[in-house]
């Protein structure tokens, strides 16, 4: 700590610096311990918050759980004025919109990932990648507003009648309504939200596939697609699964945009073109102005269901990523 002191005052200086270093060392130890404790406290705080969330939601749901039990999931009537609360319609709506978002969004997003990682020259990738990520940055309330005013009318005038005319024999494609607010609209909005998430992760996964592996496949006289299909896709399967689970989590939890375009219905039905509701959107719409204690508690019940589904899909995504390596790095 100090340079060699001049000969005469050596012992004096040494004694003084020893005293200083003693108090310094004590301060250091206190400082080290304090910082470590503060950091641990922060981590602990986060964990406590999570536990609290679960506790509050379940507590709030308790009256409704006591009243309905598991039949809540299969009751299809949700009528606050009549004090009747059944979640089937909302659960169905949640499942249909999320399934739609994944079924359409995942293949599109993976294709985008293939394009960005394996087909596009670097200059193109550096432009298109941020643009795709920008799609994820659009706030949901704006996307929902756009979906209501711009997408809705287009759907009602062109896409929905077309699908109904050609595929109307399937109950999924029932008669369209006039407003443009529908499960279908909500599903499309969710698709737009889910695509950039899956696309970014897929792109990172594909770029991480060792070039030697792709060279080896190419050297056997394979076309570009054969290399992708034979080597790149198989070695990233688990990562893509995790990415899709992440996308699913996003779709399940989206409340605001869906609330704006889904029409606020609560009926249990299978038609894409009628209005409906999801768990998250219903909570957003009815929570601020719930009419009774049971109403509020039933909304908590729905929130608890959403919490369980959402956290499960999130945990699955983490587990898949952890278990199979590369995806974890890509997602962080």
């Amino acid at each position: 700590m100090s340079a060699t002191p001049p000969a005469g005052s050596a012992s004096l200086k040494l004694a003084r610096s020893n005293r200083q270093s003693d108090s310094r060392k004590r301060a250091d130890r206190v400082g080290d311990l304090s910082l470590r404790l503060i950091c641990m406290a922060a981590a602990l705080l986060a964990a406590i918050v999570l536990v609290l969330i679960a506790k509050e939601v379940v507590e709030g749901a308790h009256p409704s759980i006591a009243r309905y039990g598991l039949s809540f999931i299969t009751n299809h009537e949700w009528a606050p004025p009549l004090e009747k609360f059944g979640g089937e319609g909302l659960i169905l709506g949640t499942l249909i919109t999320s399934a739609m978002a994944l079924l359409i969004g995942a293949p599109v997003a993976i294709s985008i990932g293939i394009f960005l990682a394996l087909l596009a020259p670097v200059s193109v990738r550096n432009v298109i990648s941020p643009l795709v990520e920008m799609l994820a940055a659009i706030p949901s309330v704006i996307l929902g507003f756009w979906g209501l005013l711009i997408l809705g009318p287009v759907l009602v005038s062109t896409v929905e009648p077309f699908l109904h005319d050609t595929l109307g024999f399937i109950p999924l494609f029932g008669a369209p309504q006039t407003t443009g607010a529908s499960i279908f609209n909500a599903g499309l909005i969710l698709t737009i939200m889910v695509i950039p998430i899956i696309a970014s992760v897929s792109r990172d996964l594909f770029m991480a596939v060792p070039p030697e592996l792709q060279d080896g496949a190419a050297a056997l006289g394979s076309t570009r697609w054969e290399v992708i299909r034979g080597v790149v896709l198989p070695s990233t399967l688990s990562g893509m699964m995790a990415a899709c689970l992440l996308g699913l989590g996003r779709a399940l939890g989206e409340a605001i945009a869906v609330a704006q375009v889904v029409g606020g219905g609560t009926e249990s039905h299978l038609s894409l073109f009628r209005n409906g509701g999801t768990i998250a959107s219903l909570i957003a719409l009815q929570f601020p102005s719930a009419v009774s204690a049971l109403h509020t508690s039933s909304l908590y019940y729905l929130a608890a269901i959403l919490l369980v589904i959402g956290v499960t899909s999130n945990l699955l995504a983490s587990w898949v990523g952890y278990r199979f390596g590369s995806a974890g790095g890509a997602m962080r």
């Binding site: 592996l213 080896g216 050297a219 056997l220 006289g221 080597v231 198989p234």
Partner: protein
């Protein structure tokens, strides 16, 4: 040996396999001490010529650039059918670059540029109508570091044949490839196991089996044993001997003794400073015994006797 414009008599071919009728052009052997040959006049526009039937590759004044940096200059060589040709030389002298140019694997490097011509059975490999996938189907490659696919042993070998439509007799094809790579006995009971569970030497033999399963015309080996231990290396060298004749083999190796053991002909590359920068150059190309026993060029002699490199 004589060089005649319209007819070929090449002693090393021997008993009068008559050349195809019609116009025939000859590559002359490199004259003592002179690199390359006075090119037989050949219009550059011609991308196909009838050649001596034993020539698989002909490189004519080949120069290779990465952007503005030149990696190889003025390579002229003829690689003969059914033989093992080794490319030796110190690191960075461009031998791997040259090898990878033979099956257009350098295409994936964005700044890659080639001058001169490389002809394969008379066809310019870099011609405008050339299908790179077809090039690689005929000219296979095994890489320095084993790169098995994350699939089963069987699927590793069967993957390319399936793509090519060779679905009949797949089992036999896989077995024949594994036997050809001297791997069959070791894996025949575990074909469904993942290839990643094999040792390094086994993985490399698997890669060789994978390459020969589609029965290419040529095998390019890029330092195939450099990542392996001596015993595995020996196995690879025996393998090369057994494959000779079925395939034309070009092997890059930094191990001179290996070249001396397996190759019929050897090309020595080195870095020569031309102007400011050192550029890879073909110094000498001859029968292996001559390269190692009585090299003509002093630079070759210095290298093979270990004085540098």
């Amino acid at each position: 040996m004589s060089t005649i414009d319209d007819h070929t008599i090449d002693p090393s071919v021997g008993n009068g396999t008559a050349p195809a009728p019609g116009r025939v052009r000859i590559r002359t052997e490199p004259l003592p001490g002179v690199i390359g040959s006075p090119a037989a006049t050949e219009s550059a526009a011609e991308s196909h010529v009838h050649v001596a039937p034993d020539a698989v590759f002909e490189a004519e004044r080949v120069g290779i650039f990465y952007g503005s940096k030149q990696a190889l200059i003025d390579v002229d060589m003829r690689i003969r059918r059914g033989q093992v040709t080794a490319l030796i030389g110190p690191s960075g002298c461009g031998k791997t670059t040259f090898l990878r140019s033979l099956n257009r694997m350098n295409d994936s490097v964005p700044s890659f540029r080639i001058e001169g011509q490389i002809r394969y059975h008379g066809h310019d490999i870099y011609g405008s109508n050339v299908d790179t996938v077809e090039v690689r189907r005929r000219i296979g490659m095994v890489f320095q570091k084993p790169n098995p696919f994350p699939k089963s042993i069987f699927d590793n070998i069967a993957w390319a044949p399936r793509n090519l439509g060779m679905r009949q007799g797949l089992q036999e094809r896989v077995e024949k490839a594994l036997r050809g790579a001297a791997l069959w006995d070791e894996v025949k009971d575990r074909l469904k196991d993942s290839a990643l569970g094999l040792s390094g030497g086994q993985q490399q033999r698997l890669c060789i089996a994978r390459a020969i399963a589609i029965e290419p015309d040529v095998l390019l080996l890029d330092e195939p044993a450099s990542a392996l231990d001596p015993i595995a290396t020996g196995a690879i060298e025996d393998l090369i001997h057994s494959l000779k004749g079925r395939f034309t083999i070009v092997i890059v190796t930094h191990n001179m003794q290996q070249a001396a053991r397996v190759a019929d002909r050897t090309a020595f590359f080195s870095l020569e400073t031309r102007g400011e920068k050192p550029i890879g150059t073909l110094i000498e190309f001859d029968d292996t015994e001559k390269i190692f026993g009585a090299p003509r060029d002093p630079r070759t002699r210095d290298y093979v006797t270990g004085r540098f490199g």
